[in-house]
């Protein structure tokens, strides 16, 4: 049987998921009705056993006549019910034609990749497991920043690309223009593009034929020992860690003792299988194959995506190339919402939720912290901003905890006068300025794809944010890619939103880390009523410090409600005040009218007034609402 391993890559919303679904229903003779039933099955399973089935790699079979440009869809061919996925041709039945007798059977493995730039490390791992990729571009939108980033990443991994122009059913589709953009920007010939509608199914037969014909077969084994690449993993309450692997050399069998070459840990394989998309157990996985592995592994910390699995009895001399630790780029603190120092149990709930989630996602880090303002919480590290949002949302939704999140910051590198280099993930940890030799910040390469008319505004914004212009690529007559080197700190919070608003939604961006660079950076402390509030402190460029400090104070003045006394707000660098604002004292808090008819309503209002206060943090005698801690995020322009 022929094997093809491939990923689908796309800019967000260009139709990756829709196309994947369409390929599933078009192969394996899985009817739309059955596909729905299968979905239902797995949902029931999830409900009954409380397990999550995340199919990171799906295996389907497909009949293809080599050289043919247009394949029969399996769904148009009659299969014997109950036999799917049938590795052998099914008997012809009434109404539908049989398989073409010249056809050969292909095993297609789709490997899912996370769509967002935050997860580019994972994307690159997934791509390593493939020989090919389908690059989906929306025919109404054209090439976008993540299209380019993902395509280049696939090319770096020597993957064969099939460009697909999607959504051609839409009236505003302009597939020829988009095909030209693909040629212009990515160097993939326009005539190689396949025009499809993932929604209506147009072009899917051509696409399946191209997958079989254009994508290369898996490479031949290079060593006699077994080597399999871990490209993803997830935690399942029922079976523990489920690992997704691509076998490159040798074979894995149920019952064998495996060794992770990176961590040196060994495990006994209890289950091997493939998702079709129903889980289907197999006895072994051979070269070129993709599937999942269960080995009684208790926590995701024992598994590193990118690591090589070999056999304990006959280990390979060298792992598969290129393992890198995922690198956390963005940090922030999570505190339980009502976690005043007095209420320790909220913290315990948060700890439990975070610990549980970390079983599922090994790429975020957490260490306990204590802040005078916010009590006990955790300093967490993320791959990027989206990753941070996802984790916060999952904690709140799955863990049932309410979180207050502090402003995200990047990692800084501080070189001290004594030569020691510290990694600073929290402005509060910065030692006194007198021991600084050099404070360095992460710099990224930023690519912005935009319609031409917005270039001026974007350049102004990047300039304001210390971006260094590196170049410009013409995508089409109307669009260009701008290339910048820019401090990560300048783009982690609101940059994308601002870009969207400048470009009326048309601009897209992508970035990757280049390294660390020194600049004139300063730590700005914020004092509320004379007390420093470290959760509000920030690191920024010295030239921006007054502006950022003042900006923050103005926001705080809006967020902190008036008290019965006047509250001075100050921003300071090393004890020197650089900006100040004042919150005037509240003059009154009393309802004018309160009679017999108002009792119930008034009582509820007062109870709410007090409830609202619970969600504030007391700093000295000042109550600061949680929103104020987010004020530091607003950089203004």
């Amino acid at each position: 049987m022929h094997i093809r391993n491939f990923s689908i890559i796309a800019h967000i919303d260009h139709g990756k998921s829709t196309l994947a679904d369409r390929l599933l229903t078009s192969t394996n003779a899985v009817s739309e009705r059955e596909a729905r039933e299968q979905m239902l099955d797995s949902m029931d399973l999830e409900r009954e056993r409380g397990i999550t089935i995340k199919a990171s790699a799906v295996t389907v079979t497909h009949h293809h006549v080599p050289g043919s440009k247009l394949d029969q869809l399996e769904s148009d061919v009659e299969a014997t019910p109950g036999e799917a996925p049938a590795p052998a041709p099914a008997k012809p039945k009434k109404g539908k034609p049989a398989y073409d007798p010249r056809s050969e059977l292909y095993m297609l493995n789709f490997i899912d990749t996370p769509g967002h730039v935050d997860f580019s490390y994972e994307v690159s791992r997934a791509l390593t497991a493939c020989e090919g990729a389908i690059l989906v571009v929306d025919s109404t939108q054209g090439v976008e920043a993540q299209t380019v980033a993902n395509a280049f990443m696939a090319m770096e991994n020597n993957l064969t690309l099939i460009p697909v122009v999607n959504k051609i059913d839409l009236p505003s589709a302009d597939p020829d223009r988009v095909a030209m953009e693909i040629e212009q920007v990515l160097g993939l010939p326009a005539e190689d593009c396949i025009y499809v509608s993932a929604k209506s199914g147009i072009g899917i037969p051509e696409l399946l034929a191209a997958i079989c014909d254009r994508l290369p077969a898996p490479r031949q084994p290079e060593v006699s020992q077994t080597r399999a690449l871990i490209f993803d993993s997830h935690y399942d309450d029922y079976r523990g860690v489920v690992i997704y692997i691509r076998v490159f050399d040798g074979r894995l069998r149920v019952g064998e003792k495996i060794r992770m070459m990176g961590t040196g840990r060994t495990f006994q394989v209890t289950e091997l299988g493939k998702y079709t998309p129903k889980p289907m157990k197999v006895e072994s996985l051979g070269p070129g194959e993709t599937g999942y592995l269960v080995a009684n592994i208790k926590t995701l910390k024992d598994v590193r995506v990118g690591d090589t699995i070999t056999l304990d009895t006959d280990p390979a001399p060298k792992p598969l190339p290129g393992y890198k630790e995922p690198r956390q780029m963005v940090f922030c603190d999570f505190y339980p919402t009502s976690g005043s120092a007095a209420k320790g149990n909220d913290f315990e709930e948060l700890r439990e939720a975070i610990t549980k989630l970390s079983l599922n996602d090994a790429s975020f880090t957490f260490v306990p912290v204590h802040s005078e303002a916010l009590g006990f919480g955790f300093r967490c590290g993320f791959l990027g901003l989206l990753h941070m949002d996802i984790i916060q949302e999952r904690l709140e939704r799955e863990g049932g905890v309410e979180i207050i999140q502090t402003a995200p910051t990047v990692t800084y590198e501080l070189e001290k006068t004594d030569g020691e280099v510290l990694q600073i993930t929290n402005p509060a940890e910065l030692p006194d300025g007198s021991v600084w030799k050099e404070l360095r910040e992460p710099i990224v390469r930023l690519d912005i794809m935009t319609p031409k008319e917005f270039i001026g505004d974007i350049m102004a914004m990047c300039g304001n944010r210390r971006g260094i212009y590196k170049g410009q690529t013409v995508v089409s007559e109307s669009r260009q890619i701008l290339e910048y080197e820019i401090p990560l700190a300048e783009i982690i919070y609101d940059f994308f939103d601002k870009l969207k608003s400048i470009t009326r939604g048309y601009g897209t961006m992508d970035y990757h880390l280049l390294g660390f660079k020194a600049d004139r950076l300063a730590k700005v402390d914020i004092l509320v009523n004379g007390d420093p509030v470290e959760a509000l402190s920030l690191i920024c460029h010295r030239d921006n410090a007054e502006y950022r400090g003042r900006q923050l104070l103005v926001r705080l003045r809006e967020e902190i409600p008036r008290h019965q006394f006047e509250i001075p707000l100050q921003a300071a660098i090393g004890g020197k005040i650089i900006a100040r604002e004042t919150i005037k004292s509240m003059r009154k808090n009393v309802t004018a009218k309160c009679y017999g008819g108002d009792v119930s309503r008034k009582r509820k209002l007062l109870e709410k007034q007090k409830e609202g206060k619970k969600r504030m943090k007391a700093i000295g005698s000042v109550e600061i609402p949680q929103e104020a801690f987010m004020a530091v995020l607003d950089q203004g322009e």
Binding site: R562, Q564, K584, M586, R587, K588, N589, V590, T591, A592, K593, C594, Y595, G596, G597, V599, S600, K602, R603, L606, E607, Q609, K610, K613
Partner: protein
Amino acid sequence: MHQTTAITVGGQSRPATSEDGLSALSTPVRSLYAHVPFCFHKCHYCDFYSFVDSQDRQPAFTDALISEIRTLARHARRASPGSARPPLDTVFVGGGTPSLLRPDLWHRLLAALNEAFDLSAPGLEFTVECNPETVTPELIATLRAGGVNRVSMGAQSFNTTHLKTLERWHDPENVPRALEIAAAGGIPRRSIDLIFAIPGQSLTDWETDLARGLSLCTPAGRGIGRSGGLEGSGGVEHISCYALTYEPNTAMTRRLARGEFAAAPDDLEARMYERTVELCAERGFGRYEVSNFAQPGAESRHNLAYWRQQQWLAAGPSASAHVAGWRWKNVPRLTDWMQGVERSGGYAPAADVEPPDPRRALAERLMMGVRIAEGLPGHEILAAAESLGARDTLRREAERQERKGLLRVSGGRWTLTDRGFLFADGVAAELMSVLQR
């Protein structure tokens, strides 16, 4: 908007009515509130249940009100054995604009009321809210004959510009005129309402308004019940001064949201309030509640019953009652209320029903009681808190408020300081919070 509350009895769920609370009545109740929902124009700040009646529903309304009053009296009689007609100490007819009810209907209503209740108690306080435009000698005579001895006149402002902002329709010159008619007709106790912190109103504007109101006062030393005053004979013994409140779902609030005007700044409003207290005191009007000022002995006993957490009966649409620890509100919609009362022989469909709950009761007691100058009886309050396991926390909270300079705790009564009056809600919220689970 107001749904009746569903009540579950013996596993069966049914809409609640006033009977649920009234059946629990076991001790004498001495106050009655009745609501007349008619107005001839809707003021923009108003969130009372009131409307302009275009269908002459006054007679049907009066019939239903009488029917409800009779039912209330039946329950009150059971709780005060030995009296054929249960005695009341205070009656308050509010609205709406009760003075809009036609004299013949007033006549019937008052006759029924006197038949149902004993209104001969010494010191009876029987108040009717009046709109200055609608006061006539004929109306006053009818009221007087039925036992009414106090009128509360909605003056709001003497400045036509500010009245216009409020969409309050009356000629300010009619206020003294109406008061004189009331005085001449033998209504001995008179009060006016004023509003401050109206958009566009300056501190001086308010001082002028208030001075005009105070100039209507009964000369000091003349005592309650005497007529006379600086402007003719229609002096007042009581003034309510309310800071304009933007209630939800009022035209005023919508206009504010639309940016038609700006609300008075916090500091100005506070300053106006402080001046109110000073100016009233100069004229012998003491603050006995946050927004209420009276000559000595002229405090409204009916309103004090609310603030002291006493029981009262309620009749009419949207009227709320407090009986045997129950609180509820009659449904506001006139037709719903009338039909309910007719069908059940005098019981109103009830909304927002709250059965007795000692924790809620104490919270409300703190909230209401802290607003009055006489304050809260400390020992009684702490005893009530004791049974909820909150004695010490409540005492500590009260002491904390004392340290903040807002409350005086010593001397057995907890009373707000001058500064505390400006922060009465905050103090109440803090005291109440120790009761929250």
